[in-house]
Each structure stands twice: as C-alpha cells, then as structure tokens.
C-alpha cells in the first residue's frame, strides 16, 4: 500500500526544517515545566499528540503499521542532520535513531537541555498512537534511542521511565 501524497500531515515548500527551531522547542518545554511542573508538561505533550497531530492518528488508523513506518521515514528525512532507520516488521515498526537531530543541535549551540526532553518521544507518540489502537515503547535517549510501535493488544508491559535517558 503506497500513497502519492506526503505521509506528513503538514508540509512545507522547503524539504528540510530549520535546526534553530529546536532551541524554541527546548525553551517551550522549560517554560511549561517551570510554570506548571511535570504534570503540566505531560498535559501539554498529551494534548499536542492528541489534537495537533490528530491527522497522523487518523492516517495510522487507516493504514496501520505500514503508515506508521511511512510517517517516520518522511519525518526524519525532513529533520536536519537526523540519522534514523525505520523498519517494518510483521507486528511492529522499529525506529532506530542513531543521531537525534534535536539533541545534536542543542549541544552544538551550547544550550541547557531540559532533562526530561527525551520523554516527549514517548508521551507525544503515545497520544498519537492510542486512537489508532497502537502503542509505543522508547528505550535510550540523550542523542540516540529505539522506538517501537505496535498494536496495543500485542504489548502488555508498560513504558518504564527508567528506560528513557535524562538529556544532558
């Protein structure tokens, strides 16, 4: 099953995003955490995944894991200096991120990274996956990680926050 339209819900005229925006993403997390604590930041990530990225959830509901794989391939192709491999298996999509573009850029700019920065990859993706009957498990972080997307019925173990590294 292939599509002629982009797997990304929102598209730009330029093929790759501007890395300087990672500093604003990091600063946004810090602002919300400082104002509203961890619960506030988790709420923000959940709402962002469930509302802003709702078109992605709808695509995943229609196309299942195949569309999940297409989405993440297109996603990392559009992120500057990202190095990631996406593989589609019978029961899961495995995203191996060897160079996280955000962590790479924030370090290069000498920015203080929000310690829970990498937890966004679980909480935002989980909010995108849940309406499609899918779930995600994240292991690693702080520059490289593995993200596995699968049917909720195929995954019994909860995400351990200890599996997600503190960003430095």
């Amino acid at each position: 099953m292939t599509r002629e339209i982009s797997p990304l819900p929102y598209t730009d005229t330029k093929p790759v995003g501007a890395a300087d925006f990672y500093t604003a993403i990091n600063a946004t997390f810090r602002f919300i955490f400082n104002r509203f604590g961890r619960d506030g930041l988790l709420h923000y990530w959940h709402e962002l995944g469930a509302r802003y990225y709702a078109p992605v959830s709808q695509q995943w509901s229609k196309g299942g894991l195949h569309f999940v794989a297409e989405y993440w391939r297109a996603f990392f192709d559009a992120e500057p200096s990202a190095e990631a491999e996406v593989s589609l298996h019978a029961n899961e999509v495995c995203v191996v991120v060897t160079t996280c573009p955000a962590i790479r850029h924030l370090r290069a700019q000498g920015r203080e990274i929000v310690p829970t920065f990498c937890q966004q990859c679980y909480f935002v993706s989980e909010s995108m996956a849940e309406p499609a009957g899918l779930t995600v498990r994240v292991k690693g972080g702080n520059g490289s990680c593995v993200q596995r997307f699968m049917k909720r019925s195929d995954c019994s173990a909860a995400q351990s926050m200890e599996d997600i590294a503190t960003a430095l």
Partner: protein
Amino acid sequence: MIGCYDFCGHYEWTFGWLEQLGGHELVRDYWLEAISEDSQRHAADLIVNHGLEGMRKYWQHTLEEEAADHVITSTDEVYRIDMHQCPSKGFLIKNGLKQYSDYCDHCMGWIGPLMKKAGFVIDHEHNHCGQCWWEMRRKADPTPPSAPSALSGKNDVRLLSNWKSATTDHYDRTTDPDDKTAVS
C-alpha cells in the same frame, strides 16, 4: 518526537493552548521568557551588544536558513526588513492552521522586549497574509517611519499589489506587542 520541519504549526498551536490555560498574559510571558530570553538568546547577545551590526548578523543567518523571501535595507541609523513572503505565516496559510487569534503578533512579542533592552524602537506593519515591514531605530532618534519606497525603493513591500488586506496591524515607535492599531 516534535520536529522542526513543521515547527511553525505546533508553535502556533502552542499559543492557543497557552491562551486557553492562562489567558493573553501567559502568551505574552511565553514570548518573553521562552522565546526572547531563552530560545533566541543568541539574537539578544548580538543585538544588545552590537546594535545595528548585530541585527545584520542575526537576520542574515536566520532569514536565509528559513528561506524567507525578503529584502534588508540597512544604514547607520535604521535596520529595515521588507518581508515579501513570510515562510512561517506561509506555512500556516498553506496548511490551513489557525489555533490562535493573530500568529503575527509573536514576532513583536519576542523582538519587542529584545529591542527595548538594546535601546531601539520599532515601526512595523503586518497584513496577516505573510507580508510585513520593520524599521528599527535608536530610541533617541525621532525620525518617523519611512514613506513607501523612500528607504527600500522598489523592494518596499507596501508597493506590492497584494499588500492591502482586510486588516493590517500598525505599530508606531514601540516595543510592546499589544501597542498596535488595526488599519483597514
């Protein structure tokens, strides 16, 4: 993961989310604390310390990286930007995204406080269609904003046939994002 490719989309969405949570004051605080003083601190370092030369360095890099269709006019007294096609607002228009009342206000929201700190005031208009112009002068300089084409010649965005819009927001020698009047 939240990416930078569609940054303008989730950035604009965040304005609306914050406004629902804490009203307009929270959005203003976000532009000041998160964007002006944190994310864009490299801009503040350049402009507060080096004035007009800092503006040249900052916007030359950032507007090229964002592939903005723009023209810069810079003298020893004024720094002017004519934005013919804003990539940020353009992204929102292209994708039909509108969560917040006036996305364009965010620029004054973070640039205004920075210019205040650097000792500059801003004359500015945006037409909500991805076009705007800016003139930054030292606060002690009483020169009024330039008339159309007087400073940037044929590159003045106000000369474009599609400059006129239903509402254009106008800022006069200010640094406050709320200090604007709507011009029809």
